[in-house]
Symmetry: C2
Subunit: 352 residues, 2 copies
């Protein structure tokens, strides 16, 4: 490991010894779940809680009504927090920010220890915000497990793990937990827009934030950034879809995985903040991801042509191998975190 | 205020002064949300995270499958935690454990500061566990806002607040947040049993736990206690439904708000742990709650006839007035917490 993690190896060894001496923290499988390596330090909270943001009201609130279509924000603010918060936008389950694949320390905890306030977001109709304003039908999709395996780039085809993949492939509990780290995400254009609008409102309540996204959360966050000046940057892990102004980008209809059409004015707002698009390993060996990376390059080029600050970070270019579609959950998530810390520092977004 | 809260008033005044001097923690409305009174001390975490528990697999996991019907557990373990954890089972939204009505400190935080590990539970199909094994249709219910108002005993009829109700009735944001603190709960008998079974498995992963419940969560937890010996006690806030053996309890078919039929053996397991049923104020003035309290009395009598330890705590009997259907969210939630601390101490469930 390099950078911040590297210099703290000795501290970590001391901490590991301390942890080993502690009494059991929970029973059974929880106790068995992975622990090392963990970020040094403790999480000391100034405040935590949750609130609803965005949404609408159906009916007459004085007579017969329903408050619905809000999102759900779960927040934790450490003592002496840095000025800019991290707003975490998943595309499968809030769990992705809460855990490493093996049950070890998640990205949220690493960044709480590094001094950032964190906000976990379930957009309208998603997860703890599933109190929507419209009827919908959920259907269980047999085969989604196998779809996850390839979409998340555990391997090229189901059951054939990529060599060196950053997933504990012999840990049956980790695999089961991964398959259960999902809930309905409502990937249709209308909901992308609905979630983006509520997300912008949530971020306006939070204040200055860098939005961290995974997969289809990235498109939603880019749209939210056109609506809230409190979005001070976006770091998008493996984002397949992008907004484009009319006449630019892929020549096909709008879709929940891009493109989404925005006005010139909206698009140009995205040139005012730093954007980083992070990609894991083994992309060339997957069926779908090369096209997404290509669309990403197209988007980045257009942003930069207009004076913006968008960059692509291929983790393999900085020596990180085997990362999946959810790199911040991977076994080397502290090294992935070091890359984020570097981005935040370079852009003045880690000030206290 | 009485008891633990009372003797800490001076400490609290000091803390309030310290808090007032701190920098802004978040932007806009979050900053404006209620803060005082808060429990003295800080939340210092040993560990936190989330995991799935229970569930099944549809299809062939080697070929085409779906992991589904698990529940979602979000846990926080403070340093030097007490031996018994608190497992929190909502019936509207996880938010009820995370906040006071005005956005002030929630029950979870109070008990983290008092040294308990806490586990927030979304049962199968609920909230962050809505990755079910069966198709279902959600329909928005216009009028639910007004239903909440009376069911949660903000007032006898919609818009007419009970005098002295422990809700900040002039705080428009608090009212809006309350109406949005809901998601689909799947109140049918089949799901009650499904959630209870997964809950028992979750608690077996956690280890020795006292289950705190609200409303229809109580019935689920009572069923879970017949399946897991790690349930060391239940404190049920305003529980409308109960399990009964054949031939006992209300003479009507099974329903999601009780009764649910259990075997004699299952029922007798409930006589082995302390059970407390907590009720708020203004019950006689509501349409539905007097019948629930009566069923509760019937259940408690039967448990105690069989040598069990079940008690009813009417908050008005200990001087607490104006409590709603969700007493632990009420403005006097620290006084409600003191009652829980007393129960835990009396039953040896607060040992370190």
């Amino acid at each position: 490991m390099k950078g911040e993690s590297g210099v703290k190896v000795r501290k970590l060894a001391v901490l590991a010894a301390v942890l080993a001496a502690l009494p059991v923290l929970g029973g059974g499988a929880l106790q068995a779940a992975g622990r090392g390596p963990v970020e040094p330090g403790r999480i000391v909270l100034e405040r935590q809680g949750a609130f609803a943001a965005g949404g609408t009201v159906l009916g007459d609130p004085a007579k017969s009504s329903l408050h619905c279509d809000h999102g759900y924000v779960e927040y934790q603010i450490p003592v002496k927090a840095r000025k800019t918060a991290l707003f975490m936008w998943h595309s499968s389950s809030a769990l992705v920010w809460q855990q490493r694949w093996d049950g070890g320390e998640g990205f949220r905890d690493i960044f709480l220890k590094r001094g950032f306030a964190t906000y976990l977001w379930d957009g309208p109709r998603v997860g703890r915000a599933n109190w929507g304003c419209e009827e919908y039908t959920y259907k269980p999709g047999i085969g989604r497990d196998q779809g996850n395996f390839t979409a998340w780039r555990f391997g090229k085809t189901f059951g054939e793990w990529f060599p060196g993949v950053q997933f504990p492939k012999d840990d049956k509990r980790a695999y089961e937990q991964a398959m259960r780290a999902r809930y309905e995400e409502f990937d249709i254009v209308k909901n992308v827009r609905l979630e983006a609008e509520a997300g912008a409102k949530a971020i306006d309540e939070v204040g200055p934030s860098v939005v961290l996204t995974n997969s289809a959360g990235g498109l939603r966050a880019l749209l939210a950034a056109t609506q809230s000046s409190n979005v001070k940057g976006i770091v998008a892990y493996e984002n397949p879809g992008f907004p484009f102004p009319e006449g630019a980008g892929p020549d096909r209809p709008e879709g929940p995985f891009g493109p989404i059409r925005v006005t010139e004015e909206e698009f140009n707002r995205l040139t005012k903040i730093p954007l980083q698009f992070v990609w894991g390993d083994n992309i060339a060996d997957s069926t779908t991801w090369p096209a997404s990376l290509k669309q990403c390059e197209q988007f980045v080029e257009l942003i930069n042509q207009r004076g913006g600050n968008a960059k692509i970070l291929k983790l393999t270019d900085v020596g990180l191998k085997g990362n999946t579609h959810i790199p911040f959950m991977d076994m080397n998530n502290r090294a992935v975190a070091d890359q984020l810390s570097a981005f935040l520092k370079q852009n003045g977004l880690d000030r206290r």
